[in-house]
Symmetry: C2
Subunit: 328 residues, 2 copies
């Protein structure tokens, strides 16, 4: 007799209840919010062949499925609390489910994020997660607070995930060690939860870099009604693979500026907060790099561009980078 929907949930996805008043297994989960706090929500959907290759290790995929959601919480400075998982599966593959749930719950446990509900059904592989986090009331960091004169920072590294994708596509050949590192960045992203929390009250505005720096910083600039200048000599070294491999400059630009799948934080803070930014980086053990500054809105600048890239001589680099768009 094949494994049914409820056996599947029982075997692979049910865990002891933690903070939830009612967890998995009823029509609804019940959650008692803490006084003085607000809840933040985000949802991401991952589709086979689009967000991940069909050959990806299921443990890594389980990790990534939750990681991309936690990254949104990080961008608001929130503490992860709970998530709901809806899963469409072509068939009940116990090996796959075992790996997927291991990767998922290892990351969930690391961040104290509890699975409180969801749905399973048969269909093309699709992983939809809604995640909930908590912030002290009024302290969520949004995209809309950037101010002219703020410094622009990025956490960790940018572009290696895209470099791995290009290698998978066959457009570039990488030395094995470089490919392995880049592939790890693509398949096992690290949500910057601790840094995001440490930046509450420090960063004026923050977003996570999931569709590429140009696109995601672009949304932040639009929401804040400002522009920005990025210094390419400061941004280029964010491509970690450069430490071991001489990546052509054009490819480095594509990867760093419009790569996607980075799950780093881009944020803005005033120069007066520079020391507090460094303290947040240290306390969260997360590298932080200043890559530019916030300028007046494009209508007020000579270039007319929202986002300007400058080379080592301060000259404007002509760019036509676009963010990743699933329907473009």
């Amino acid at each position: 007799m094949p494994m049914g929907e409820f056996d599947l949930i029982e075997r692979f996805f049910k865990r002891p209840r933690q903070e939830a008043v009612v967890g998995i297994g009823d029509d609804c989960a019940v959650w008692a919010p803490r006084a003085g706090h607000q809840l933040v929500f985000s949802a991401d959907m991952l589709v086979e062949g689009r967000h991940f290759l069909s050959t990806v290790d299921p443990t890594r995929l389980g990790h990534k499925s939750l990681a991309v959601n936690l990254s949104d919480l990080a961008a608001c400075g929130a503490t992860p609390k709970a998530f709901l998982l809806s899963l469409s599966l072509p068939r009940v593959d116990e090996t796959w489910l075992s790996g997927f749930s291991q990767g998922l719950f290892a990351l969930a446990k690391e961040h104290g994020c509890e699975l409180i509900g969801g749905d399973t059904t048969q269909g093309p592989l699709n992983i939809a997660i809604t995640v909930m986090g908590e912030v002290p009331a009024g302290e969520a960091v949004m995209r809309s607070g950037a101010q002219v004169g703020d410094d622009v920072y990025v956490s960790g590294n940018l572009g290696d995930a895209r470099l791995a994708l290009e290698a998978f596509r066959g457009t570039v050949r990488l030395p094995e060690a470089v490919f392995d590192l880049a592939r790890l960045r693509m398949e096992v992203p690290t949500p910057r939860i601790a840094l995001g929390q440490a930046l509450r009250g420090v960063a004026h505005a923050m977003a996570d870099v999931s569709d590429g720096l140009v696109g995601d910083l672009g949304h932040l600039l639009k929401a804040s009604a400002v522009g920005a200048e990025i210094d390419w000599p400061l941004a280029q070294p964010l491509l970690q693979s450069l430490q071991q491999w001489a990546c052509p400059n054009d490819l480095a630009m594509t990867c760093v500026l419009s790569g996607g799948d980075d799950y780093e934080l881009v944020f803005c803070a005033p120069p007066s907060a520079a020391e507090r930014v460094q303290m947040a980086a240290q306390s969260s053990q997360t590298a932080v790099t200043k890559i530019g500054r916030i300028t007046p809105a494009p209508a007020a600048t000579s270039s007319g561009q929202t986002l300007v890239l400058r080379d080592s001589h301060g000259q404007i680099v002509p760019t036509q980078f676009r963010s990743f768009d699933h329907f473009a």
Copy 2:
């Protein structure tokens, strides 16, 4: 230039913010819970060809996508507050999107349920919604509270959606008027929100009937560690189509008992609360039918069955009904 992901959201899914502190458009939505209340959550995923036919009217599909989620809130006695929508689309079809969003938002507006976030991507058609509702602290109605001697009630009608499915499958021919009515039940279910709320403090236990009465009542019985007897002469007339068409008894049993897609409420309340149940039905303008009673757990009964069906002479009807299982 094709419509991009952000244009699509802007055009079809962005609505003015209502109760949310931060709505659609940032990395996360922000929600300020009301003091003295708990939040309840549920998630459902609808896949083309499995949960709906590819030819279904998109307006009806938009309605149904939210309705099945609201039905879970109803089963807890919750007031709908907000939802997140993740949507995988094969292509940007503006006619489809326009219809879908109209059906979705018409129902959302009716229940004051605000879209606060989500995701859109390209892929096989898949609709994943997470819904959030609110209950006064400690008042959520769960599946686990049924007590021996409770009456078992069902709201509205049962089985007509399954009858429509059988007609679509060609296993039965229905008069046109009967088919139209049954099809409406399948494609435009009514979540019993007002009844669910009115039954807080009245019903001992409640669940929504989405996978068929036998299955969903079965989950309630298991969670409550009790059994139940259903009187077929009381349950059979719940098939609304019977009013116009002489449905064979076997087919009526299949439809009413293990039909699925009903989105009615099944609930248990003590005989002493019978009048309050009727008042809840009246105040919510929702029909309620008593169909049986809660018995001791099966180990303590002579039949050894959790759920017993009795005919008009009180004799046990042998049944082998199963609930709908996506992987069975």
